[in-house]
């Protein structure tokens, strides 16, 4: 206890120096708390917005379909498998899909597009597209003879709601697939790839046109919370037929690029964070060191009075620790305050909004407010400063009482 009191009092022998050092630590700690919270919030936003539009949280596919999405690599009895997953797991939403390539033609234009067969009643649970139908309506029944098309595609084809669309493609068995369907709705997701290259029709209609029987290609499963995906994945895998024909892939394996993009960003950010922490450590190391050097005489006296070097070292270490903790506490309070503010207000800046507006997204980051975001940065700072404070503390062991008392 006396050690603690000594350390605390020593700290305030140089008020200005202590405050300057505390400010340095607080500044970096607040900055890291804020940056890490924003960074993780941005990742969440990227994941959420990318998955919500179409891919979903996890997908059941035939093994190998992910790398080579071919029509023949299909899931038999796809609706039944989807139903089994729907009742057998805690999934928030399950929807079956089938994919094919088709040449779609209007009166005077034709384009190659991705044709998707969906379950109209289930699709809204796993994708935002049903909710983004600006003109007309989304697909009605599971076997309705109708399509919805992306807005850019509709514009390029010069068609509107009520017009007929000719679809040409090849079926699963290699036969010619051809049909004429009325357009009942036009959707705008903001993602040019989807708006330009996708048409959706009811699953049964798709299976009929593309000679799929009861097959499909993908079952999209959404968890209630993205954090609960691990458990859901295990549940889904347990329900899949044995033999390994069907696999369940979490979003990381469906959108491999997204995960890697975030990892690369993480590496780069930590390079920045760590260089900042090292710089500030050197910047405050002088305070620790001076606190020892200027008290050489005092330590000499203490040693002569019988204090063990270890004990003095403990006092010095404790001083550094208190100093750091004080700085970190202020830093966490300030950084956390800013994070809480943006947690409710949303963080954005104009250029970012412009970029995201092109994808029809709000471009507002909600910083992640959690124990990790509040303490991870400060914890690393603490580790570095403790390491730094070892050096001055260890110097005390080399002091000889008589020489030290004579020192100026």
């Amino acid at each position: 206890m006396i050690t603690l009191r000594l350390a605390w009092r020593n700290l305030w022998r140089h008020t200005r120096r202590t405050w300057l050092t505390v400010s340095a630590i607080a500044f970096v700690a607040a900055l890291l708390v804020f940056l890490i919270a924003i960074q993780l919030g941005a990742y969440d936003m990227m994941i959420d917005t990318s998955l919500r539009v179409f891919p979903g949280h996890l997908q059941v596919q035939r093994a190998g379909y992910q790398d080579k999405p071919q029509m023949r690599a299909s899931v038999p009895a796809v609706a039944a498998v989807a139903e089994r997953l729907r009742t057998g797991t805690g999934a928030a939403a399950v929807a079956a899909r089938a994919f094919g390539f088709a040449l779609v033609a209007s009166q005077d234009r034709s384009y190659g597009v991705q044709a998707v067969g969906v379950e109209p009643a289930r699709e809204p649970g796993v994708s935002t597209i049903p909710g983004r139908v600006g003109e007309g309506r989304y697909l009605a029944a599971d076997d309705a003879q109708e399509v919805v098309v992306g807005a850019l595609l509709a514009r390029n084809l010069r068609i509107g709601v009520g017009d007929e669309l000719v679809l040409l493609g090849s079926g699963r068995d290699g036969s010619m697939a051809a049909t004429v369907l009325p357009v009942v709705g036009i959707f705008t997701t903001g993602a040019p790839d989807i708006d330009r290259h996708m048409v959706q029709m009811p699953l049964a209609t798709f299976q009929d046109v593309f000679a799929m029987g009861d097959h499909g290609h993908v079952i999209v499963v959404n968890a209630r919370e993205l954090d609960a995906l691990g458990g859901l994945l295990a549940e889904v895998r347990a329900l899949l037929p044995a033999g390994g024909e069907l696999v369940a892939l979490p979003w990381e394996e469906v959108l491999t690029g997204l995960k890697q993009l975030m990892q690369a960003d993480m590496v780069q950010n930590w390079f920045m964070y760590l260089s900042l922490i090292v710089i500030v450590t050197f910047s405050i190391l002088n305070t620790f060191l001076m606190a020892v050097l200027e008290r050489t005489r005092e330590f000499g006296v203490m040693l002569a009075l019988g204090l063990r070097p270890l004990r003095i070292g403990a006092v010095v270490m404790l001083e550094s620790l208190l100093l750091t903790l004080l700085g970190l506490a202020i830093g966490i309070a300030v950084g956390g305050g800013v994070v809480v503010y943006y947690y409710f207000a949303g963080f954005t800046f104009q250029a970012m909004e412009e970029i995201y507006a092109q994808f029809g997204l709000p471009g507002v980051i909600v910083p992640e407010l959690s124990f990790v975001t509040l303490t991870l940065g400060p914890a690393v700072i603490l580790a570095f400063t403790l390491l730094a404070s070892l050096y001055p503390a260890l110097r005390i062991r080399r002091l000889q009482p008589v020489d030290a008392m004579r020192a100026v």
């Binding site: 050092t21 491999t256 975030m262 690369a264 390079f271 260089s275």
Partner: protein, 407 residues
């Protein structure tokens, strides 16, 4: 008192506490090192994104029929370059230019089909203009008289289960809005860093595309490569004058997102410079304050002996400047050495797919820009001196008698 004397005093004062000075010099050096390295990496990554996008059929300047950029179909076609446009393109700044046919199409193998852009190119004209002449990894590049030859991306070839020597059918809309189809033979497979290019394009000769789509001599676009992508204003103005009625756009107009990304990168970089400097400045000010306080008596004495407060101030400032200069010299040397070491690039292949999403190659080549290095050094020097004003002013304010009698 002469300036050299003040300088000598400052320099000697600096080394009265070697350890303390060394510590703060290290902090300054590390700060500058991290600024320079980070700037080089950020610039390198940005440069790569822009260069990849330009090579990805964008070019420095592109000319289209009005409406093509919004809706790239055969309806928005244009006549081959007029003599006036050809004359304008015969410019010392232009290193390469070529016309292309580029329309949406369907490519079908025996098993699968996919939507792509059919690109009809002038095989020789593309050299120095786009990625394709250097990207063929299997088979060969197109020859000018390759009527039935086609280049396909590796990923697309895998998806279509086709390959070298096999036939694929291309379907697209011709000028009469009828579906034109034609068989081509895969003569080459290409592999590229450019985002999505491997599945987005198939290449044939321009003549073959024109014949298939009944285009005659008409084309979809004209792409131009120049000596410097930053100085395009004069050239685009000349091209606009030479090609009235056509849409002449620089890469920056064609890819506005890239320009926004570049400016965000720059702003983030400068904010980071400021943050690193702040982290350093706490230590700098603290060290100088300590140096001044422990010399209270001494400063009082020399003031009593006739040194002006102004000279005390200059002396402390000089001390700080010298310290910063030493730190900067070491930091720049460190950064220079580090950059020489990573000159050939940092291997990012662990994140290859993610990097491809943003158009960065698997190897990141740092790019040093003089203004970043200069900016970092000036920032530290100028702001550092300003931060040192406080301790210097404290020192100059001592009243000699009080200072002398203080313990």
């Amino acid at each position: 008192m002469r300036a050299t004397l003040l300088l000598t005093l400052a320099w000697r004062n600096l080394w009265r506490h070697t350890r303390r000075t060394v510590l703060i010099v290290i902090a300054v050096a590390l700060g500058v090192w991290s600024m320079v390295i980070l700037a080089a990496l950020a610039r390198g990554s940005m440069e790569q994104q822009i260069r990849n996008e330009i090579l990805n059929l964008t070019g420095h300047v592109q000319i289209h029929a009005p409406g093509y950029r919004d809706d790239p179909v055969i309806d928005h076609r244009m006549v081959p370059p007029s003599p006036a446009l050809r004359a304008a393109l015969d410019d010392p700044a232009v290193t390469a230019w070529a016309t292309r046919v580029r329309v949406p199409a369907v490519v079908a193998s025996e098993r699968e089909s996919a939507g792509v852009a059919l690109v009809g190119i002038d095989p020789e004209g593309e050299r120095g203009l786009s990625f394709i002449p250097g990207a063929v990894v299997e088979g060969r590049y197109l020859a000018p008289d390759d009527g039935a030859g086609l280049l396909i991306g590796r990923k697309l070839a895998e998806r279509l289960e086709t390959g070298l020597g096999r036939r694929v059918v291309i379907m697209s809309q011709d000028v009469d809005n009828a579906i034109a189809d034609r068989g081509f033979r895969v003569v080459g497979v290409f592999d590229t860093d450019a985002p999505g290019a491997e599945t987005a394009f198939v290449f044939v000769t321009r003549a073959a595309a024109q014949a298939m789509l009944k285009l005659g001599e008409q084309v979809s676009e004209l792409a131009v490569m120049t000596t410097d992508r930053r100085r395009l204003d004069a050239l685009t103005a000349r091209l606009k004058a030479a090609a009235p009625g056509l849409d002449v756009a620089s890469w920056a107009e064609a890819q506005p997102l890239l320009v926004v990304t570049a400016s965000i990168t720059e702003v983030v970089l400068y904010i980071w410079f400021a943050i690193v400097f702040l982290a350093m400045s706490f230590g700098l000010v603290n060290t100088l304050l300590m140096a001044v306080f422990e010399r209270t008596r001494e400063i009082g004495l020399i003031q009593a002996l006739g040194m002006q407060p102004r000279q005390v101030l200059v002396q402390v400032l000089l001390e700080s400047l010298l310290l910063l200069a030493v730190g900067l010299a070491i930091g720049n040397a460190l950064a220079w050495g580090h950059l020489a070491w990573i000159r050939d690039g940092i291997d990012l292949s662990a994140f290859a797919e993610g990097m491809e999403m943003v158009g960065v190659s698997a190897v990141l080549i740092p790019q040093v820009e003089a203004r970043d290095v200069l900016g970092a050094n000036l920032l530290v020097l100028v702001l550092g001196s300003i931060a040192s004003l406080y301790p210097a002013w404290r020192a100059a304010r001592y009243v000699p008698v009080e200072a002398l009698t203080r313990v």
